[in-house]
């Protein structure tokens, strides 16, 4: 596993390489163990990373290569994740994000979606969870790399103390 951590003072953790469940476990353990963050912030970061990384594992296209980092930017935490996606998945994510952005009460929307779950139907709650936890401070971008699309989430958490 290609791992880099603490590559500069501002990075709490940085990873670039194949993304799998071992990487997810590594990130969660690293955030749990760091003494640089208060517990409440750690918890928020862990929930966001869990959704971002399980999403990469479940929906990557062409390659499971990804970039994930958590950095401290003068008291603001910035979580970044990037991975390859299909055009269909990119459109789905952009469309889901547009829906979430228009929702007034994100938690109520989450609960309504959860109510509709059945043995024949699951729903995508991950994006809603992330959006709720970062209070909407989320930017999505994408770029074409050769024949592939690379999607990047940049999430900011304020008031980490």
């Amino acid at each position: 596993m290609a791992k880099k951590s603490d590559i500069s003072n501002k990075y709490i953790i940085y990873y670039e390489g194949e993304v799998d469940e071992a990487v997810l476990v590594f990130f969660i353990k690293k955030i749990s163990d760091t003494k640089l963050l208060p517990n409440r912030s750690k918890s928020n970061i862990k929930f966001i990373l869990i959704e971002l990384i399980t999403n990469i594992i479940s929906h990557y296209s062409s390659s499971s290569h990804g970039v994930i980092s958590v950095e401290d930017n003068e008291g603001q935490i910035i979580i970044t994740s990037g991975n390859y996606v299909s055009e269909t998945n990119l459109k789905r994510i952009e469309s889901n994000l547009d829906v979430v952005k228009r929702i007034k009460n994100v938690k109520d929307h989450y609960n309504e979606q959860l109510k509709s779950v059945s043995y024949d139907k699951s729903v995508n709650l991950g994006l809603i969870e992330i959006y709720n936890r970062c209070k909407g401070n989320l930017k999505l971008s994408s770029k074409q790399i050769g024949k592939n699309l690379f999607i990047t989430f940049k999430i900011k958490l304020n008031d980490i103390n």
């Binding site: 469940e21 997810l24 476990v25 969660i28 353990k29 517990n39 409440r40 918890s43 928020n44 862990k46 929930f47 869990i50 959704e51 399980t54 594992i57 479940s58 989450y110 609960n111 959860l114 109510k115 779950v117 059945s118 043995y119 699951s122 729903v123 709650l125 991950g126 809603i128 969870e129």
Partner: protein, 120 residues
């Protein structure tokens, strides 16, 4: 009887129908939770709590991804619908992990169950 050992991202589960008891402890953020929980769901479909008895579920909360939340929420809703008034649910939550209490509320949302909560 279903017994599953814990991993860092999946919970310990001990389900003993002969004792009307299920214990679940730890994280649940695996990439494919439907596969992980399939044995529980298969068991659930054919199970009814015997007359005059109660089924007890103890869950020590860990970190759950939203896919696991959906599956466990549906599990709790179904066991309660199939056995109304016969399921006791208790959550054990680390008092230093406030967000896990929120996750527990989400797990039980709209299931009809009223859990007891013990902080440790």
């Amino acid at each position: 009887m279903i017994l599953i050992e814990a991993k860092e991202n999946s919970p310990y589960i001990c389900l003993d129908p002969s004792q009307n008891y299920m214990i679940m402890k730890g994280n649940s953020f695996m990439a494919n939770p439907s596969q992980f929980y399939s044995s529980l769901n298969t068991w659930l479909m054919g199970y009814r709590v015997p007359d005059g008895e109660m089924f007890r579920i103890d869950i020590t909360m860990g970190y759950y991804n939203t896919s696991s939340i959906q599956i466990m929420n549906l599990f709790l809703k179904t066991i309660n619908q199939n056995n109304p008034g016969k399921v006791n649910l208790k959550f054990f939550i680390d008092r230093e992990e406030e967000d896990l209490a929120e996750s527990a509320n989400t797990l039980v949302f709209n299931t009809g169950l009223t859990p007891t909560i013990e902080l440790f």
